[in-house]
């Protein structure tokens, strides 16, 4: 414990000190060169630490993973196997089931979070206790998905019919004569996947709400007043004015949610570990790595995930370019 504390303090104090020293000493070195060279070299020296990290932790491993996905399981002497790992992914029923679940995650998590965030943002915009209401909705985003999993494990708790239900949800539907339902152990209709999607909806709606709310406040009041004077109803004003103006914001929130859905891992790992037909590709990959030790297949799973995200990456870059052009 003590030595770890010392290491941590060394890092916290040392890293900033090393960086300051680095900048200072590169500047000393540059002072021996001409002004022209200084202008050319200095930016790269300042970027070097960051580019080193980005290169080593994101670019290099992504390339290695793509290469590894065409190789066999054997870690000591991997052989080239062509598309075999991908063929496995797209023919194996467990992998396809995980893929199906990810599609459900993408569609429903995105839909519920964007829709819910929009609805709540519009509703609380009209009341005086807006900021308190927003805090309540936003709070789950601050906690870990593991903690959220624990919270909802108690909500979804299931006891055999006839005994007292201790789970909030089963007690509630029991009150009107329904249930009990084994929320987290029901593969039929992928009920358990939907149960877990609802946990993430609970967590992420606040995120959508905050961003949509900020965009909502940016809509000029005069615009809405003018429409009201012209006799537009609240309903018409929302669909004709507010909603179109929120379009770009909704798109941004949706892309974030699509990425979040594709990368879903913590909730599934914590609550079901993929049992009851709830597996997702990120969890499948961890299983291939540690349970089966097949780094070839695990890499292929990761590449599938990456490919699913590439369109979003392109969308983000285009959007960034457009924004920069306006600047």
């Amino acid at each position: 414990m003590d030595s770890r504390l010392i290491t941590a303090i060394e890092v916290v104090v040392g890293v900033p000190a090393v960086l300051v020293l680095y900048i200072w000493s590169t500047e000393r070195l540059l002072s021996f060169t001409s002004e022209r060279w200084r202008r050319r070299i200095r930016p790269w020296l300042w970027l070097l630490p960051a580019l080193g990290f980005l290169g080593f932790f994101l670019i290099y491993p992504t390339i290695r993973t793509i290469i590894r996905s065409f190789q066999s399981k054997n870690e000591l002497a991997p052989e080239w196997v062509g598309l075999k790992n991908y063929r496995w992914f797209f023919t194996n029923s467990d992998a396809l089931s995980a893929l199906t679940n990810n599609v459900l995650w993408v569609v429903f998590l995105t839909l519920f979070v964007v829709g819910g965030g929009l609805l709540i943002a519009v509703l609380v915009d009209r009341v005086r206790y807006e900021s308190i209401a927003k805090s309540v909705i936003f709070l789950p985003l601050a906690i870990s998905m593991v903690a959220a999993g624990v919270i909802w494990k108690f909500m979804y708790d299931f006891k055999p019919p006839g005994t007292q239900q201790t789970g909030t949800l089963n007690a509630a539907i029991g009150g009107v004569g329904l249930g009990p339902v084994a929320w987290l152990q029901s593969p039929g209709w992928r009920l358990s996947t939907f149960a877990m999607i609802m946990i993430m909806v609970w967590m992420w709606t606040g995120f959508a709400m905050v961003i949509i709310s900020a965009a909502l406040k940016a809509i000029p009041l005069e615009l809405l007043e003018a429409a009201r004077v012209d006799g537009a109803s609240e309903w018409q004003m929302f669909w004709r004015i507010t909603f179109p103006l929120l379009g770009p914001t909704l798109a941004v929130v949706a892309t974030t949610m699509i990425i979040t859905s594709l990368k879903t891992f913590d909730i599934v790992y914590t609550l079901t570990n993929g049992n009851y037909d709830t597996d997702v590709i990120a969890n499948l990959m961890v299983k291939e790595m540690f349970t089966f030790g097949d780094f070839g297949r695990a890499s292929a799973v990761a590449v599938v995930l990456l490919l699913a995200i590439v369109p979003i990456m392109a969308f983000n870059i285009r959007r960034f370019r457009a924004q920069e052009a306006v600047r």
């Binding site: 980005l54 932790f57 793509i66 601050a142 941004v252 914590t270 990761a302 924004q323």
Partner: protein, 313 residues
């Protein structure tokens, strides 16, 4: 919060949070409640229902965490509000002494603080170069950073795990510090560069005329003026790392339980069907304590971090 760029990631994460459109950036105008009329009561009732639905899960677990173990498995948390009002601190004292939760809490701190500080400093230097230095390829390079914002960290796990194994640092805190720095950097650079770029040009020009070097401009102007953005980023990265499960699980691993953070220890507790179940509520609240303090104390900065790239579009 996770990975989307907040994180980004796994955060989800929030680490993937990017590029809120300019509309979101405009200062929040104070506006009066609109639409008075017969619909008002319905509006209040609708909001009240939504708030109750959102709050009940957390309240339920909070109440459960103070209930005796034997009653937890036989009756719902709401029965605690009727006599005989059985509440206890036993779960919290058990959780701190057993199951390694107390030690895991300390581990989480050891992991999260350096993993917040390192990327912050590395990103600030790079963001300054992107914002205030001219060099060929600058825009292309920054577009690469924007692209890297959404790279799923799953694609990086295997090669980095192998490299860490070769260096002999798997299972050590150093491994997660380095990894979180790498994963957190794209969002950090993106946010800081946008913020620095929005600072008034005249200030930097005046400084240059007075003979200030880039080093002086960086330490005396850019850093002090960026404090709000740095604060938002620090909170964001801290919560992302504190709440992370995947990175810790892979690079520290279940084989090194002494170094695992709270999230991984808790996930184990959920999965193990053993006797620890009644401790889950207390453990979860312990893990939430720090994020909740951060949330309530620094909500404004936190929201700014979330609205994220939108500091100045």
């Amino acid at each position: 919060m996770t990975d989307a760029a907040l994180p980004a990631d796994s955060a989800a994460t929030p680490a993937g949070t990017v590029l809120a459109p300019p509309a979101a950036t405009t200062a929040v105008a104070q506006r009066t409640p609109r639409g008075r009329g017969p619909g008002r009561p319905i509006l209040h009732i609708a909001i009240a229902i939504i708030l109750i639905v959102w709050a009940v899960p957390t309240i339920g677990l909070l109440v459960s965490s103070f209930r005796p173990a034997d009653e937890l498995s036989t009756s719902g948390w709401w029965t605690a509000f009727a006599p005989p009002f059985h509440f206890t601190m036993q779960n919290y004292s058990d959780v701190l002494s057993q199951q390694g939760i107390g030690a895991a809490f300390v581990n989480s701190l050891f992991i999260a603080i350096p993993a917040t500080i390192i990327p912050l400093f590395v990103a600030a230097v790079a963001a300054y170069a992107f914002a205030w230095m001219e060099f060929p390829g600058r825009d292309v390079l920054f577009v690469v950073v924007v692209g890297l914002l959404v790279v799923p960290l799953q694609t990086t796990l295997i090669p980095i795990l192998k490299a860490f194994a070769q260096w002999g640092i798997t299972g050590e805190f150093l491994a997660v510090w380095l990894a979180h720095t790498g994963y957190g950097l794209p969002f950090a650079i993106f946010l800081l560069r946008n913020f620095m770029g929005s600072l008034p040009r005249s200030v930097f020009e005046a400084a240059a005329i007075d003979g200030a070097s880039h080093v002086t401009a960086f330490f005396r102007l850019a850093i002090p003026m960026c404090v709000p953005a740095l604060a938002a980023l620090a909170i964001f990265q801290f919560l992302f790392v504190w709440n992370d499960l995947l990175v810790a699980l892979i690079y520290i691993g279940l084989a090194n339980p002494d170094n695992l953070p709270l999230t991984a220890t808790m996930a184990n507790l959920v999965n193990s069907l053993g006797g620890g179940w009644y401790l889950l509520g207390a453990a979860a609240f312990l893990s939430m304590a720090l994020p909740l303090v951060v949330f309530f104390a620094l909500q404004r900065y936190f929201v700014r971090g979330i609205v994220g790239g939108a500091v100045k579009g």
